[in-house]
Subunit: 191 residues, 2 copies
């Protein structure tokens, strides 16, 4: 297989692996097994595990940012229009069906005490904020949108959508966070 194609394959496998267990918790061997190649080959392609993670993190956040940019570019965005914000929310909601990217992003955030990872995390966060500025909304409005997205991220991370079954506080928080789209999200996850 061409090195370029193989590299792409390993990157996608690494994204899945890191999404599961984070930076420290994922071995290069786990990535290799997920990709179906040998562990030394993974190291050879990317140099070090850290460089591989930085690539995976950058690509994951890019994916999220691009989804926002696509929605905003699709039709004129009116920052005063609720339905336009709903379009944006629905896009993120759709993105949640594949949790991989946001899991990697969150793992990147908590691994920010590693300086190189922190740099990428801060840059990515700024890029997303920048992309949302194309909505024409003021900074406070964008901040609120991101805040709500972060809550959704956390809820997905801890598995609230699947586990919030019996009545209780977690269930209430999950339902008022995900709204009526929750059953669909859980069904998609189980499929």
């Amino acid at each position: 297989m061409a090195a370029e194609d193989r590299r792409e394959l390993v990157l996608e496998a690494a994204t899945r692996a890191f999404a599961r267990s984070g930076y420290a918790g994922t071995s290069t061997d786990a990535v290799a097994k997920e990709a179906g190649v040998s562990q030394p080959y993974v190291v050879r392609i990317f140099g070090t595990k850290l460089e591989l993670f930085l690539l995976v993190l950058q690509r994951s956040v890019d994916r999220i940012r691009l989804a926002f940019e696509a929605v905003i570019a699709a039709s004129p965005f009116d920052a005063e229009s609720d339905s336009d914000w709903e379009r944006l929310s629905l896009a993120y909601f759709e993105l949640l069906k594949d949790r991989t990217f946001l899991q990697v992003m969150m793992h990147g955030f908590v691994a920010s005490s590693t300086e190189e990872i922190g740099e990428v995390a801060r840059r990515c966060m700024g890029d997303v904020f920048d992309a949302l500025r194309a909505t024409g909304a003021d900074d406070d409005r964008i901040r609120d949108f991101i805040a709500y997205g972060m809550l959704l991220n956390i809820m997905v991370l801890i598995g609230a959508p699947e586990h919030a079954t019996e009545p209780g506080a977690l269930t209430a928080l999950t339902q008022c966070s995900f709204g009526h789209g929750l059953p669909e999200l859980v069904a998609h996850r189980r499929a």
Copy 2:
């Protein structure tokens, strides 16, 4: 030293250690060094590294929840009063001066793919939500409060308060998230 006192000391050291590097990224030896005891002794006190982390996670989230409960109990809370919500926000803001607890909490969230950790994380999230229900606010209002708190957590995790210096998207997001309290927070951090 009495076993009980030593245990408490190690728990606090473990909280600091896990706050830095998370569950997978922190060795029992790192905890031991932070506590000034031998590594086998740490394992002996808590059985396994996982059990130690579960304790640390539970205690950290408890600390956050208790801070909220204290504010709500301090004087009658009016869910329609902006100043009452500001009291609550300020309490959390004050809590951010010691990042340890929220760092541990976030590390617990992303480590939720380990089933035991996920269970504790979900329970803690529910407990915090429950505590905030004592404000008398409806669920949506509480959810918004938590969402904003989660954004602050992320910003702290990636070191935005210290690193958002030159003008740019990250700086704008940081300033509109932390408001005028930002310089104070950074100063306290550097002290």
